[in-house]
């Protein structure tokens, strides 16, 4: 799946190698690259995480501000997830507004967090119908070598679990004051996205940039720690059989548990 020219040689080689059950870098089909997760390293953000998955490198920043609620939910806070494809991350990425892939990335990560009800948004109201807390989750890609969804999902979870949310005081006149006190953000679930990719009849996880270019399709499944599915996204101009879909879900449940342990270990 690529928007640009892919070398025929590369495609042929990767397809041949994956068919034997291995990857170009020697990994097994269901093996992730090494994870490196750091949290709370940005002083001006309520929460932050730096994730390196192989050579893929992303920074996630969580900021909490104040703004207007949606009309139909006057007392609920608002969460917004945004992704930036910075031009340093890949030679083909140009400066400009987020391309379609970045928008999908943000929406898929957002959907997973929101569907899992990770944060009780009803507790974030300040002045009914006027002012509520806004939670911004910004996904910043610094080096692109495939599998951004899983890396950003883990980064968002790591940042949110270590977020120190400021306390707000609301006066009788409806004036809001941000105190110096902070409190660890309470999370109700720990959803994680796992993307399973397909080349020919082989299913594998954690694609590199090359594998991402060559793959036929992928299914991302976001699951929480109780084994519930929160979100699914299928991409790629190919079909998946029901059997393949079930396999993907099983793989996602297994891998999410492993990754979640890594993410929460740094809490």
């Amino acid at each position: 799946m690529s928007n640009s020219i892919v070398s025929r040689l590369k495609r042929k080689k990767i397809v041949d190698v994956v068919a034997t059950g291995k990857r170009m870098d020697g990994r097994e089909l269901l093996q992730y690259r090494d994870w490196e997760i750091k949290t709370n390293f940005l002083a001006k953000s309520a929460g932050s995480a730096e994730v390196k998955l192989g050579k893929t490198h992303v920074v996630v920043g969580v900021k909490i501000g104040i703004g207007h609620p949606f009309e139909d939910t006057p007392d609920a806070g608002v969460m917004m997830v945004n992704a930036e494809y910075t031009p340093v991350a890949h030679p083909t990425w140009e400066p400009g507004p987020p391309p379609k892939d970045a928008i999908e990335l943000a929406r898929v990560v957002d959907r997973g967090l929101r569907a899992a009800e990770i944060i009780n948004m009803d507790k974030l109201g300040l002045v009914s119908g006027e002012k509520v807390q806004l939670i911004f989750v910004d996904l910043y890609v610094l080096n692109y070598d495939g599998n951004l969804i899983d890396a950003c999902s883990a980064g968002a979870l790591a940042a949110l679990t270590t977020t120190e949310a400021p306390e707000f005081n609301v006066s009788k006149k409806g004036e809001i004051e941000k105190t110096d006190k902070t409190e660890r953000l309470k999370l109700r679930a720990h959803p994680l996205a796992v993307t399973v990719c397909k080349i020919g009849d082989s299913l594998f996880v954690d694609p590199t940039f090359d594998e991402d270019e060559v793959m036929d399709g992928r299914i991302t499944v976001t699951v929480d720690e109780n084994g519930n599915l929160n979100a699914i996204q299928k991409r790629g101009p190919v079909g998946f059989t029901l059997d393949e879909i079930k396999k993907c879900i099983n793989i996602a449940l297994e891998k999410a548990a492993e990754i979640r342990a890594l993410v929460l270990a740094g809490e």
Binding site: I5, V6, S7, R8, L9, K10
Partner: protein, 230 residues
Amino acid sequence: MSAKFETRDIVVPGDLLYEGRIRTGDNTFRSEGNVYSNKVGLVNYSNDRVSVIALEGTYSPLVGDLVVGMVTDLELGQWVVDISTPTDAILTINDAVNKSYRTSFDMTTVLDVGDVVVAKIVDFDRRRTPILSIVGRDLGKVYEGFIMKITPSKIPRLIGKKGSMINMILRQTRCQITIGQNGRILINGRNREDEELVVKVIHKIEKEAHTSGLTNRVQEYLRTIKEDRN
């Protein structure tokens, strides 16, 4: 002594290498009568010149270079080939096909966008665009194998003095290895194990290119890995 460093010292752009007259070699420039480095690299003082062996760098194409590239566009009578140069290279039909052809000739029967080629740089046009040719032995479209990319400035190290390093690797891994001066290496082995070994060895050479005693260390490395295998 007018030399400001010792051979094999690491220097950076702007470092004063030599005060006074001396011939300027690679990656140096003369300014106000002195010689300075223009890159990060190892300075080398020889009898009559000072030069810097660059540790990083873009590929500087020269006529005669063997390069590995990918066709990225089809134009009238020529293909555009990406060989990691500041401007893309051109391959004309005349330099690709050895016999006569009709004007209705379908170029994609020879090369299409996305094809990988091994080519030679035969010329530069007046706008410094590299001109390629695939007419010749061991040149042309590549059908098998994969490409590994390393910094072009480390290619000499991979080849070694009179080919000593690359010949040793070829002997020990029995893979086909085509080294492009533009930092792209085409590898084709009989099995994945051998190919993975080549990749590991080349990574090691790239990382340690600035040190000495590398040939021996690589030989030892190859020996240990093959022993572990058996």
